[in-house]
């Protein structure tokens, strides 16, 4: 139940400034699943018959956001205003900021680009996040501890389905993330990616002194959902070298929690040493401490609470910069940035909704067999003697007679002729599968035509132009 009065909301917003602004990063290219995204931008990939960008927008709307700043490309912007699902289902006001596809803008660059619009603390969400997390858990850490950064992580799910086009076992060389948290499991102490490490993990002594007990976790997925303070955006404006939030900004902030400069009260003396470097750090401290009022300080002094025990320091060890993480133990959290994740998400997502599995406008003949865990999109045509099990069929697709579809994902506008057998495959938009084809664990790219009586197993069939790009 949301306690957000619709009628007086606009008036109330005038009364005090907003607490949090939502920023949705939808300009990413989907570089890890080029087979799917070479024709369709990643935010518009259908998952459970809804465009991928719908999921984070739905999450924000459910929680109570009224407007979102969406940073995306022109194509997605067009879809946002024309696509049925996006236009009607999403009631928030979308402030779309277009960036050119050619400029290789990182997420931090994008924040710098929209810094004029940012008036308060921000919640940055990635367009490929599908989750049912209780967002207040993340934001409460941000609010209660007056944190600079608060992020969401989740236990990694092992993807068990066979991924089309993957030859051999999945390479276990996925670069691991090492995340160090304190005893409570909320305060983020350490973050490093295996790729950046040479020999082993390196810890500063100051961290060990302040937090002698640290839990290092590796099996965590970063959901790319961050609550950032306004001062961080100002810091980004001053430091143009930071390009990516996840890659550079977050590890920097986590490191800076224990930096000497921010914890001593006479930071001004240090700035004389190395002007340029200190200026950058100094900026961050200034921007975050100027807001700390004397009264808050007094309240904290008088309060008999401490976040740790065993040493002589006050709460938070007197540090002004704090980073927190909420680690989801249960619940769903997927980042759809690889083919395996995409397939898994398609499998799981229909359970989220109470929508009827077969869209009312779809034409499904009586003699066809549509399993209960399949979903059929609007305006589809399913003919006789067709069996669809554990599959998703997209908008306006035509499935002719005697077709067997199992464990597959059929996107929009696909035509599947009679007698086909499709198993464990992904058929992209506007593809045509010829009569009697037998596809097992294949990925058919956008607009491709499969000749009749074809037999393909474990193949990726894409157009020649795609091959050229590689």
């Amino acid at each position: 139940m949301m306690f957000c009065c619709e009628s007086c909301c606009s008036f109330v917003l005038q009364v005090f400034g907003m607490e949090l602004q939502a920023v949705l990063m939808a300009a990413g290219g989907g570089s890890r699943m080029m087979d799917l995204t070479y024709n369709t931008p990643k935010p518009l990939l259908p998952v459970g018959n809804r465009p991928l960008i719908w999921y984070p927008l739905n999450l924000l709307e459910r929680v109570g956001f009224e407007e979102v700043i969406v940073i995306t490309t022109k194509e997605v912007q067009k879809a946002l205003s024309t696509d049925q699902r996006l236009k009607t289902d999403v009631k928030m006001r979308l402030d779309v900021v277009c960036i050119q596809e050619e400029t290789d803008m990182g997420t931090a660059d994008a924040l710098r680009h929209i810094q004029q619009k940012i008036k308060t603390d921000i919640l940055v969400v990635s367009c490929d996040l599908i989750t049912d997390v209780a967002l207040h858990e993340v934001v409460d850490l941000f609010r209660a501890h007056n944190a600079t950064l608060s992020m969401l992580m989740s236990k990694v799910h092992e993807f068990t389905d066979t991924v089309p086009g993957q030859k051999g076992k999945k390479k276990a060389g996925e670069q691991r993330d090492f995340v160090g948290v304190d005893v409570t499991g909320k305060r983020l102490l350490f973050m490093a990616n295996e790729a950046d490490l040479e020999e082993g993990l390196v810890f500063r002594k100051s961290i060990m002194r302040k937090h002698p007990r640290m839990l290092i976790k590796t099996g965590l997925l970063d959901a790319h959902l961050y609550c950032l303070k306004r001062s961080v955006v100002d810091f980004l404006v001053h430091n143009k070298s930071v390009t990516s939030i996840r890659g550079e900004l977050v590890p920097y902030l986590v490191r800076k929690q224990f930096s000497k400069f921010l914890n001593t009260k006479n930071a001004t003396e240090d700035t004389e040493k190395n002007q340029k470097q200190q200026d950058a750090h100094h900026n961050l401290e200034l921007l975050s401490t100027s807001k700390e009022e004397a009264l808050l300080q007094l309240a904290r002094e008088r309060s008999c609470w401490n976040d740790h025990r065993g040493d002589m320091s006050e709460a938070y060890h007197g540090g002004k910069l704090r980073c927190y993480v909420h680690i989801m133990e249960e619940g769903m959290c997927y980042r759809v940035n690889t083919l395996a994740a995409y397939i898994e998400a398609n499998r799981v997502v229909p359970k989220l909704f109470e929508d009827p599995p077969i869209h009312p406008t779809a034409v499904v003949t009586e003699r066809s067999l549509v399993g209960s865990d399949s979903i059929i999109g609007p305006y589809c045509q399913i003919s006789d003697k067709t069996s669809i099990k554990r599959s998703n069929v997209g908008t306006s697709s035509t499935i002719k007679e005697k077709v067997k579809i199992t464990n597959s994902i059929i996107m929009n506008g696909v035509t599947i002729e009679e007698g086909c057998n499709i198993q464990g495959s992904v058929i992209c938009n506007n593809a045509v599968i010829g009569r009697g084809a037998d596809m097992k664990y294949c990925l058919v790219g956008s607009g491709q035509c499969i000749e009749p009586e074809a037999e393909r197993t474990n193949e990726v069939i894409v157009g020649s132009d795609q091959l050229m790009e590689i």
């Binding site: 949301m2 306690f3 005090f16 501890h145 309240a299 609470w305």
Partner: protein, 537 residues
């Protein structure tokens, strides 16, 4: 009707008191219905008034009698007896007024009638006065509806001690819905003695149902509520200061809507915030006094004052309140308290009181030689924080748990206690365990000094720790040792209840001195201070 009238007049003129009553009863029985509750009450009251009738003054003139006649039948049930009711007093009074000077028997009956009349007049006057009082009283004291003879006695209890009353809960739910504040549900089995209090769980934060960019409730209030419920801001002074800070931000961001006055509208805007904060954690006495002060200041803003000016004035008021009542008060208290600390003293403190810590640090700065024994108790273990602060300062400290109190007391020369609130009957409300410390100290003849600022004095009266208290999260009592958590599934054991009390009251006999910013006063002088404060305001 005329027949019965005639019969009534006859019977009254001739019969005694008992006969009158008998006649009424007979009349009622003749009518075929049983006596109504009001009639029975009236009879009882008449008997009582008859005993007091000689002391009562003469009743007012006829008009009031008429009014009473009108008012008396109104509260009674609209049964067919009411005509009989009305018929009975009317001829009674008429007859009484007609023949004032009468013989013995009629005089007695007349006295009885007069007593009836006086009883009714008294009750009427009292109810009228009660209504006037309600109108006159400010928000400071709760309005007490004086008992009306023909109505049940109405006592207004605060909502937070009426959790087991479904009517009160419904009222609260309605009020919160109107203010768009989410209702926090109680958690777990409550021990029966305390089932009239709220018990919340930290795992269900009050922000679960609030939209994420908080729009209905100001973001700084949401943050404050979270910090209260998670215990990040704990302690009477800290909570008040944080509350006033949040109010400063609310006032800063406030803009008067058109056709409204700041003095009235801002107070209305604060009500849902206060409801939200009390849902997060019940308000403390100091917070209550601070809120009263703010509301008074806001309503005293003249209407022709410009908005910016008014806001600036309010911010200055808040700053001066904090400065006077908290910061300067602690300085004054330290000065008085240091007089009481002599070299070689062994001072016992309990839990974490910001004021007592301040006093001890100041005394140490003034080169007094003393050592401190810090007594601590579960589950909060606030003494560790006291220990940290004192040791950081350089004071020699000993740390014990409250179970070792009687072993350590022979060493102690003075006990310094902090207070959450000082009640109007001299009782000290403080962290649970304080009354035990005071009790054992009394047994060992160790002086107990309570340090409390005057802004924590409250007009409530309480003699035990049951009637009004706070229940903290019961899961705090669960402890994991060697990987085993024995109380993990306490909810499944039907007969098990976990009780985590927060406050208790210490009677004034155990407290030797209260050190306030007004000086050092005995516990029983608290109502005097309150009276003086009220006169000032």
């Amino acid at each position: 009707m005329a027949d019965s009238d005639g019969r009534q007049v006859d019977s009254i003129n001739n019969a005694t008191d008992e006969d009158v009553k008998l006649q009424e009863i007979v009349l009622a029985k003749n009518e075929g219905k049983e006596l109504t509750k009001e009639e029975k009450q009236r009879l009882r009251k008449e008997k009582k008034q008859h005993k007091k009738s000689k002391k009562d003054d003469k009743g007012p003139p006829e008009k009031e009698k008429v009014k009473e006649k009108a008012s008396v039948p109104v509260p009674s049930k609209p049964a067919t007896q009411s005509p009989a009711h009305k018929a009975a007093p009317v001829p009674v009074n008429a007859s009484a007024s007609e023949s004032p000077a009468a013989a013995e028997k009629p005089a007695k009956s007349k006295a009885e009638l007069r007593a009836e009349r006086r009883a009714r007049q008294d009750s009427d006057r009292a109810s009228k006065q009660g209504k006037k009082e309600v109108g006159q009283q400010s928000a400071s004291s709760k309005p007490k509806a004086t008992p009306n003879e023909l109505q049940p006695v109405v006592k207004r209890l605060p909502e937070h001690v009426q959790v087991d009353d479904p009517a009160a809960l419904k009222k609260l739910a309605k009020k919160l819905e109107r203010q768009q504040v989410p209702l926090r549900s109680d958690y777990g089995y409550k021990v029966s003695l305390f089932s009239h209090l709220h018990q919340y769980s930290r795992k269900n934060p009050p922000t679960q149902q609030i939209s994420i960019p908080a729009t209905v409730i100001h973001p700084s209030i949401v943050r404050l509520g979270l910090q209260y419920s998670q215990g990040i801001i704990a302690g009477s002074n800290a909570r008040s200061v944080a509350l006033l800070h949040a109010f400063k931000q609310v006032i800063q961001d406030y803009s008067t809507p058109p056709n409204e006055e700041l003095s009235r509208d801002l107070v209305n805007k604060l009500s849902p915030y206060i409801s939200f904060l009390s849902q997060c954690r019940p308000l403390s006495a100091s917070m209550g006094n601070a809120i009263k002060y703010i509301k008074k200041e806001i309503s005293n803003i003249p209407s022709q004052c410009k908005e910016e000016e008014a806001k600036g004035e309010l911010q200055a008021c808040i700053d001066s309140y904090i400065n006077e009542k908290i910061i300067l008060a602690s300085e004054a208290i330290s000065k008085y308290a240091i007089e009481k600390i002599s070299n070689g003293d062994v001072i016992l403190v309990y839990g974490c009181s910001s004021l007592v810590n301040h006093i001890l640090c100041k005394a140490f700065e003034k080169q007094r030689k003393f050592r401190v024994i810090v007594v601590d108790s579960r589950p909060r273990l606030e003494g560790r924080e006291t220990l940290r602060r004192l040791v950081k300062k350089g004071i020699r400290c000993t740390y014990v748990l409250i179970s070792a109190l009687s072993y350590i007391l022979p060493e102690v020369s003075k006990v310094f206690l902090g207070a959450h609130a000082l009640l109007a009957n001299g009782y000290v409300m403080s962290r649970v365990g304080t009354s035990q410390i005071a009790l054992v100290a009394k047994a060992y003849n160790v002086p107990v000094l309570v340090c409390c600022e005057t802004y924590k004095f409250c007009e409530r009266v309480q003699t035990d720790s049951f009637v009004s208290n706070e229940l903290d999260d019961p899961d705090d009592l669960i402890v994991t040792r060697n990987g085993k958590t024995h109380l993990e599934n306490w909810q499944t054991v039907k007969s098990l209840g976990l009780l985590n009390l927060v406050y208790d009251v210490t009677p004034p006999d155990f407290v030797d001195l209260v050190i306030t910013d007004l000086g050092m006063i005995p516990c029983t002088s608290v109502p005097v201070v309150l009276r003086v404060k009220n006169v000032d305001q």
